[in-house]
Symmetry: C2
Subunit: 151 residues, 2 copies
């Protein structure tokens, strides 16, 4: 799959990630040890209403679904990501939730400085099992351009 094969307006849905209390606490212990990500009691004292996942953990679980999905598609000529825009955590993620992803192509642009590559602009939305949006963001992904046929 080259830059030329990416279709603006197309979208895909994938993923089925079960969120567990054990994993929420394990991630938070290492990377986001705020009380409401570590115990149910502290979560109840906040607006969240109970133990909930670090937003960075939700991002990690989402990336895992993206990578697993990429692998089912075989070889893509993606060259990694320089970043993303407009990340929003819209609802808390709780133990027992199941997450899935909808990924839409919103734009693409050939590189002026690097004729062998182009940027693809996505809108990724993450939903729980109630179809509530829990996170959204707009990743930028670099793709190789299709090599020209020799003259």
């Amino acid at each position: 799959m080259y830059f030329e094969d990416v279709e603006i307006g197309s979208s895909e849905e994938f993923g089925n990630y079960p969120v567990t209390e054990e994993e929420i606490i394990e991630f938070a212990s290492k990377y986001d040890p705020q009380p409401f990500h570590l115990s149910d009691e502290a979560g109840k004292a906040m607006i969240f209403g109970g133990l909930c996942a670090s937003g960075w953990h939700t991002a990690g679980m989402t990336m895992r679904m993206v990578v697993d999905h990429m692998k089912t598609k075989g070889r893509t000529h993606s060259m990694g990501s320089p970043g993303l825009d407009e990340l929003r955590w819209t609802r808390p993620v709780f133990p027992g939730d199941t997450l899935r992803v909808k990924s839409s192509v919103i734009d693409k642009r050939a590189s002026r400085s690097r004729p062998d590559m182009g940027s693809v602009f996505l809108h990724n939305e993450v939903f729980n099992q109630k179809d509530e949006l829990v996170m959204s963001f707009k990743p930028i992904v670099l793709y190789k351009r299709r090599p020209s046929a020799p003259d």
Copy 2:
């Protein structure tokens, strides 16, 4: 520390996070199992030049430095984050690197709909031990407003 105490233009530097090969592989195995985050050989085959951390792992290490720093400051009236803008991964993060953070207040805005809170806009830059920028992003953080004195 309330919304009123946050000073636009102020900045802080903190953190000293040693990046290890073991932790890079452990994080990537769970959340970003692409070959160049799992083995040195696969990293050498990419533009990165060797095993490097998932960008989401760099974000997690950064959050850990932020939380540890918050704890040294005592009680802040932060109410969590609705998201962030303009996240960029500018250089690979390698085993043996040591990361630190510079966090600057770029703007703040009182909420019109919620008179008890306001939004603070930060610019967080993450550097390695060579003072090279490896990641930057602009988090939005909600703060409680200082309760008014009774009339």
